[in-house]
């Protein structure tokens, strides 16, 4: 029996595999019966530095990637740009200028965020630069083109999963400090699936035909802050 437990603990997903998790206990639900995602959440990973497998560097913990299969399907010119981005990342990463970090990067910044939820809207309040996303449920995208840092988010429930379709991005954010980037043709589909009372499986499918030869996917877990006094504070990046 003990052996079996040890064995199961050892079967941690290999690099780049889709994270799957289960948790004892029922998914929380609203009075209407939809999953209740409200609460304060945060990732426990190093994707903000690099969404792919990476060794440690000064100030950067080593980390297992969050990209399915680990490799990104860059078009040739885009692969060269990614490399240049990486070489210049200390100053070229837009996040170093304290700009809104875009989607999905805002999800895996090393700061907590609070989800609030009503029948018509899911709102995410991020500690990082007071970023806000209003995810409107059951309404069509605004007719673009618009260049928004955080895109236009429209959500719907598919079973227990909140599916968020995000369009109308600018081309000024990166996916991480390592220089992974996109164009203004970016289309993100996020999937928030609670797998227990305090754990959300988060997936983001990335489509950008100007930069990538095919869509790709990242996934990670969101952990609920359960401290009794947990609340969102502030990181007003450019005020220092």
């Amino acid at each position: 029996m003990v052996q079996a437990v040890l064995f199961s603990l050892a079967s941690v997903p290999a690099a780049g595999q889709t994270q799957t998790a289960t948790e004892t206990g029922a998914v929380r639900r609203t009075a209407e019966g939809t999953p209740d995602l409200s609460g304060i959440w945060q990732v426990m990973n190093t994707a903000a530095w690099d969404i792919q497998d990476h060794p440690a560097q000064k100030g950067v913990p080593a980390g297992q990637g969050v990209v399915e299969g680990n490799e990104l399907p860059y078009l040739p010119a885009a692969a060269a740009k990614k490399k240049a981005n990486y070489d210049n990342r200390a100053t070229a990463d837009p996040e170093t200028k304290c700009y809104l970090p875009g989607v999905p990067r805002i999800t895996y910044m090393p700061y907590p965020f609070q989800i609030t939820q009503s029948q018509k809207q899911v709102t995410i309040l991020y500690e990082y630069v007071h970023a806000v996303r209003n995810i409107f449920l059951g309404t069509p995208h605004i007719k673009g083109p618009i260049d928004w840092w955080m895109g236009d988010s429209r959500g719907r429930w598919e079973g227990n999963t909140l599916v968020v379709d995000v369009l109308e991005f600018n081309d000024e954010t990166w996916f991480d400090r390592a220089g992974n980037f996109h164009s203004d043709a970016l289309h993100v589909v996020e999937r928030y699936t609670p797998v227990g009372p305090d754990l959300i499986n988060y997936e983001a499918t990335i489509e950008d035909p100007k930069v990538f030869s095919k869509p790709w996917k990242m996934s990670m877990l969101l952990y609920r802050h359960k401290e009794k006094n947990a609340q969102i504070l502030e990181y007003e990046c450019f005020s220092f």
């Binding site: 609070q114 007071h130 409107f136 618009i146 502030e234």
Partner: protein
Amino acid sequence: MRKSWSTSAFRFESNIAARRPLEGGSALKNWFSSSAIAAAALAVALSLTSVPVAGQWSKTHPITAGCPSPAAGFHPCALGKAKTFNPSKTPDGQPDLQGIWEAPVAMGFQNIEDFPGDPSPGGFGPAITSIVDPPDGRVPYQPWARAQRDENVAHYIDPYAQCLPTSVPRQMANFRTREITQFSGYITIVNEAGGHIYRVVYTDGRPHVGPDIKLWMGDGRGHWEGNTLVIETTNLNGRAWFDSEGQFYSDSMRVVERLTMVDVNTIHYQATMDDPKVYTRPWTMVWPLERIKEKGYEQMEEACHEGDHDAAGFTLGGFKPYFGPRFPK
């Protein structure tokens, strides 16, 4: 509008302007264009073109909810009406303040005191005070602090113009809208403009965070007194202004806000400031919040810092960044 819908999104800004026309507000643009820092300030100027200037609003919007719009008249009149108004309730029995609100006659963006108007080209027009107590409509500064307020205007940059958060109570007075949503145990106030700002006000009885935590938006705790939502805010960092004219406070300020429905589309908003380091006594401002009635109205992204690079321009113009009160030694 601040250059939030930057670059190509300007076309979108015009959509918004079309759907929600606001009057006045070119004063700042003119002020900047007459200065040596015009180019650098252009972003700011563009960004502010649709700000309603309070003095103009008091002319075009003289009545709110059947009461005079200026604070001295609105305050007693609206509270009188509120006594007989029975607001609808949320499922858990709270008076329902939910919705998207704007503050078109608030002086918060321009000058919270009576202001005769600046005769210089493009200067602000006249403003009527939002202060109902003390009765003279003036901030009861200690003498050094009144002098410092004058110095702020002359030499320092309004932190709001640098895209820093509005703080409290300016969050409830700045231009564009704010959405109030009530949940079990907390209330959120999320603004469209002001450099992506929001507050989560806990109503579950938890204590404030520790005194060493200083926040732009403070630490708000709410409770109900009858139909009035009372929010007590502490832990402010003291780095913001109340208006564009240097009115200031310290990190010791405690703000008590009172939100009371006057009718289905109007809130009587009141904020009492207590800061013994800066003022001789507590003082109170009042303004109306008006509901956005457009069906399906959505608050959108405002990305101020990302589009505005005006701090350098201000610095070139001789203005300094503001980092809080400079207490006498």
